[in-house]
Symmetry: C2
């Protein structure tokens, strides 16, 4: 697909994050099942529900752009999720596994934060005014999810693991 102009790049990034969210949606239930801490389990389950809404928001963005909703493989998110999977499988210590899953989930959140941040800025510049609040809503949720994970980590999970 073309990446010549900012319009092209905008569409590419929407497809990239759409793919990423769909992969995350598939992975979160597995993480919730593997989580030892009930608070962490709840956080993953809650974020799975949020992710469904984020995917719907992205489908509305595709509609605004007059495009069919479809993703494009994002190697960054694949790499982050693959590493998270390895941690889930290999960490035999339950507390270390929880701490590792938090770290993997935060890497996902930060990837999404940077992409939505860019998309909000570009949507404004390109005059896609109706897309802005949809992308901003997703960005705000990712920030909140990242903060929640930091609180969980600092609130004791890491301490138990060490």
């Amino acid at each position: 697909m073309s990446m010549k102009t900012l319009d092209d790049l905008f569409v590419h990034f929407v497809r990239d994050i759409y793919y990423a969210e769909k992969q995350v949606l598939k992975t979160l239930p597995k993480m919730a099942r593997k989580a030892d801490s009930d608070n962490l389990k709840d956080a993953f389950e809650h974020h799975r529900e949020e992710t469904e809404g984020q995917i719907e928001n992205l489908e509305k963005v595709f509609e605004i752009l007059g495009l069919k909703a479809r993703g494009v493989t994002c190697e960054a998110i694949d790499g982050i999720l693959e590493e998270g999977k390895e941690i889930m499988e290999e960490a035999t210590d339950a507390d270390a596994r929880d701490a590792g899953m938090i770290a993997a989930a935060q890497a996902v959140e930060h990837y999404e934060i940077t992409r939505y941040g860019t998309l909000v800025a570009w949507a404004k510049r390109l005059g896609h005014t109706k897309a802005v609040p949809l992308l901003q809503a997703n960005l705000d949720q990712e920030y909140a999810a990242d903060r929640k994970l930091s609180d969980l980590a600092e609130g004791g999970l890491n301490k138990q693991a060490a």
Copy 2:
């Protein structure tokens, strides 16, 4: 390599970010050459110098841990840099290329921010007290680099691209 305990995970993440920084060090001069805006060129060149210092900090962390400095392939950073490379090659419009390179660089910064954030927290928990200021220094630089790129994007580069 083992990822059973939090100690194992800590070492794995140090190796992961060491690999990432070395890849970034190789990529930044290419991005500086491709940048159209002089401010962006300067930002990439400045961050290349910072990255050299960050690699030295990580080598000190390896020394503290009594380990030989070596990286482990990080697919997340490879994916992010590969996408950045595609943007550099394909964006024919100079302003769009600059905007795309900023987005790619910010994805790198956010990956590093989340990893250093985790490493600082874990170093504290694991009692690697001497490693904490070295990892914190790198984290602070990545935050500052990300903010600088946001300022550059908002200060007109995106506007020109649209």
